[in-house]
């Protein structure tokens, strides 16, 4: 009935067909080929469908003061502060190293004003290495200078304007992904706004905001006070948000705007939950700190599940939304 030679794990994000539905979650796999120092990096790369870089900003960013990370029972809180070497440094030093991955490269971009988002997209477009880039992922969770540091992502009108600006300044064949923040009451509002703005793909979720207190010093634990929570603890939040977008937004349901499910995936069962809730592809981040084989294990697990049920991943997208 179906073509047996086709890759059952293939995932389509617009015109981009990925060999595997697994992506690196932005900020957890570096932005040059840090992974290449792993002994099993070839197997890791084989398990991946695309590489999402750490957030890149127009100017280099120093990052937040210590302490930047703390562990909770089933996850991690971080406040790195987008430390990166800036768009110029990324293009010159890091992107060429990423080329050896032989994966579609999706560049995660951050900015503090809408104008800066446009400049950043244009800067990445107008250089001689833009062919190495397959698309952009817009981080709308970063603080907006004009709104007193409140994130772009909580205001649907701003989301729409940011996406529109980035879309206008991107290469036509780049896919534009909007990575949504879970720190909102209704995820479908910024999701619809991003679609209005012309996003090709939605990815969700970014980290959940949280805080920890050091009981010995009686001060906030993280240098930046506020941290982003990631890891298995947030998976149910992410699965629900994917489900809500898939069921409530016609463009998502029809797969015209596919969803990348991210948040707490640590094993193949987790990835499958996201896919059944409506995700076309999935990103893995924090679990990779804990288990360097996680991409390989998730891919193998999915492959076995699919052959056991004689189906393909594409057929399972949103199956949990059929009721």
């Amino acid at each position: 009935m179906h073509n047996h030679s086709a890759n059952p794990l293939a995932a389509r994000l617009k015109h981009l067909t990925l060999n595997s539905p697994l992506l690196t979650a932005s900020g957890t796999s570096g932005s040059c080929n840090e992974m290449g120092r792993m002994k099993n990096h070839r197997r890791i790369l084989h398990a991946l469908g695309a590489f999402v870089t750490k957030g890149v900003t127009l100017e280099p960013k120093r990052g937040n003061p210590e302490i930047r990370v703390m562990e909770i029972r089933t996850g991690l809180m971080n406040s790195i502060g987008l430390q990166n070497s800036g768009a110029a440094g990324f293009l010159q030093k890091e992107l060429p190293q990423l080329e050896s991955c032989r994966l579609p490269i999706l560049v995660n971009i951050s900015a503090s004003t809408i104008g800066e988002f446009g400049k950043l997209a244009a800067y990445l477009r107008d250089n001689d290495r833009e062919e190495l880039i397959a698309g952009l992922e817009i981080n709308v969770s970063c603080p907006n200078l004009h709104a007193g540091g409140m994130a772009f992502g909580v205001d649907p009108r701003l989301v729409e304007r940011v996406v529109k600006t980035v879309r206008r300044h991107s290469r036509k064949d780049w896919i534009v992904i909007t990575k949504l923040s879970p720190n909102v009451t209704d995820i479908t509002l910024p999701a619809r706004a991003a679609i209005e703005g012309g996003t090709d793909v939605l990815s969700m979720i970014n980290t959940v905001r949280g805080m920890a207190v050091n009981i010995e010093t009686r001060k906030p634990f993280l240098g930046n006070v506020v941290g982003g929570l990631s890891g298995p603890a947030i998976k149910p939040v992410g699965v629900l948000m994917v489900y809500q977008c898939f069921t409530k937004i016609p463009e998502c349901r029809s797969l015209r705007v596919p969803i990348i499910g991210i948040g707490g995936i640590a094993c193949w069962q987790d990835a499958l939950e996201y896919i059944l809730a409506g995700a076309t592809a999935t990103g893995i981040g924090t679990a990779w700190f804990v288990n360097p084989n996680v991409f390989i294990e998730v891919r193998d697990g999915l492959e076995k599940y699919l052959s056991r049920h004689r189906t393909t991943l594409a057929k399972l997208v949103g199956k949990a939304c059929d009721c």
Partner: protein
């Protein structure tokens, strides 16, 4: 191999003779299967592989060279040579390969044509790649009297053979892998309750305290002194058992789990991480004497550093700063108690076994007590107060202000930040180059999460956050912001 196969003088001897001549060692064949090398008081015996009948005296150590040129073997001792403690085995082929990589400029002196070397050796590339593997716990013993919250964990693995001082590993703190299952909670059968105790989510970073080499007595470096060129070639040596020293913090989940580990437990590890360090690079800079200044737990990675430096024949001056000497008393069950001349103190016995002489070992104790008898150090080398002060006084006595030219020494410090800052002020004023070993809270250990940052200077002199796991953990003190 039959004994008769190794009789004839082989190119191995000629290669070895030339190698030793670079450092001014003189060689003499003793019989047809051994070569005696001498320089001053140091002597090393080299024997052809296969000659097990003619064993060295138990106290001596030596290097074994295999004249079989077709075999490439990169291990310290073969399984079947366990009867010869203190022997290092290398094949001629391997010696040539290593020489080509480590001392390429010396190849003509060795009579080797660089063009004829096949550099595609099996072990040429894997050395600095990060591996994920399982280690087996050998022992997990409390350190300190009365037993408190410090422990020494010994584990066995064959996967850390390239690890050098300064590098570190990430260890899962309990057997059975990470908490990543769909259902992270387990049913505790004994108590019939759901086990909701917090579990460490991440691995924890640890520096190596000491390495043990298969087939070698733990204190083989007490007597062995290798010619430095040969040491440069065989670095890093191939160990299979390692010690880490850790403190179980109050309320610390990871270290609390660690202390529950029992011999035979298998735990996951990631490594080696961080930048490798090659002592031969110091030799190239004309440095002969190394000062190691450790504050408390910070002495642990410096002990591993001392081990490598001794193998390379550097003179070592070790300064151990402690709050309380009792805090490093070893437990009775620790095998170090059975060692000759062991005082039963961590670090001090380790350094003595590594070959740091009593006159080169210094201890300062903040909580002033009378030092117990039998410490492996000269009584004058014990002082009360901070180790930074002790080091400063000693440096001023050794390198007085009248001779303020840069002495051919280098210092390494590891410990709390205020202590390292103190050492840096001392070294800066006296033009002693200082390297520090940094420790920071980590998540990934691989350079992707940007958690473990310290404040460093850029080439332009501005400030930046530098990732300890990727740019360090060894830093030039002058490149950091104190």
């Amino acid at each position: 191999m039959k004994k008769s196969a190794i009789r004839q003088p082989s190119p191995a001897w000629e290669l070895l003779r030339r190698l030793l001549a670079i450092d001014g060692w003189s060689c003499q064949m003793s019989g047809s299967t051994a070569l005696q090398a001498k320089k001053g008081k140091s002597a090393v015996l080299f024997k052809a592989l296969g000659d097990t009948a003619n064993r060295p005296p138990p106290s001596s150590a030596g290097v074994m060279i295999a004249p079989d040129e077709n075999r490439l073997q990169h291990s310290l001792l073969p399984q079947n040579a366990g009867k010869l403690p203190g022997w290092l085995r290398l094949s001629t082929d391997e010696l040539v390969q290593l020489a080509a990589r480590r001392i390429p400029d010396r190849l003509p002196a060795l009579g080797i044509d660089p063009l004829k070397i096949d550099t595609q050796t099996p072990h040429a590339h894997h050395q600095w790649l990060i591996d994920h593997f399982t280690v087996t716990v050998k022992s997990n013993l409390p350190v300190g009297r009365p037993a408190g919250n410090q422990f020494k964990l010994r584990f066995q693995t064959a996967h850390l053979r390239g690890i050098t001082p300064g590098q570190f590993i990430m260890l899962q703190t309990r057997p059975g892998g990470p908490v990543l299952k769909s259902r992270p909670f387990t049913w505790n059968k004994a108590g019939r309750t759901l086990d909701l105790a917090p579990k460490a989510f991440l691995k924890r970073p640890f520096g190596i305290h000491r390495a043990f080499f298969p087939g070698f007595a733990p204190d083989f470096l007490r007597t062995l002194s290798l010619p430095s060129t040969l040491a440069a070639i065989i670095h890093p040596p191939q160990a299979d058992e390692y010690d880490i020293f850790y403190k179980a913090l109050d309320g610390g989940i990871g270290t609390h789990e660690l202390r529950q580990l029992k011999p035979g437990d298998k735990i996951q590890a990631l490594g080696p991480l961080g930048n490798p360090f090659d002592p031969a690079s110091l030799r190239a800079r004309g440095i002969e004497e190394i000062h190691l200044i450790g504050g408390g737990m910070g002495m642990a990675p410096l002990t591993f550093m001392a081990q490598h430096l001794r193998l390379h024949g550097f003179r070592i001056k070790a300064f151990v700063g402690l709050f309380n000497l009792a805090a490093i008393r070893l437990s009775d069950t620790d095998q170090w108690h059975n060692q000759t001349a062991a005082s039963g103190h961590l670090f001090l016995d380790d350094l003595a076994a590594i070959g740091v002489k009593p006159e080169d070992l210094f201890v300062s104790e903040e909580n002033k007590t009378r030092p117990p008898a039998g410490l492996p150090l000269h009584p004058k080398n014990f002082s009360a107060g901070f180790v930074t002060r002790q080091y400063e006084r000693w440096v001023d006595a050794q390198h007085p202000a009248s001779r303020r030219a840069q002495p051919p020494v280098m210092a390494f410090a590891c410990g709390p930040i205020p202590m390292m800052r103190g050492v840096w002020q001392t070294c800066q004023a006296r033009k002693i180059p200082l390297k520090v070993l940094m420790e920071k809270r980590m998540a990934c250990g691989m350079g992707v999460c940007f958690s473990c940052v310290c404040r460093a200077k850029t080439a332009e002199g501005t400030e930046r956050y530098s990732r300890v796991c990727l740019d360090g953990p060894i830093y030039d003190a002058q490149n950091l912001i104190w």
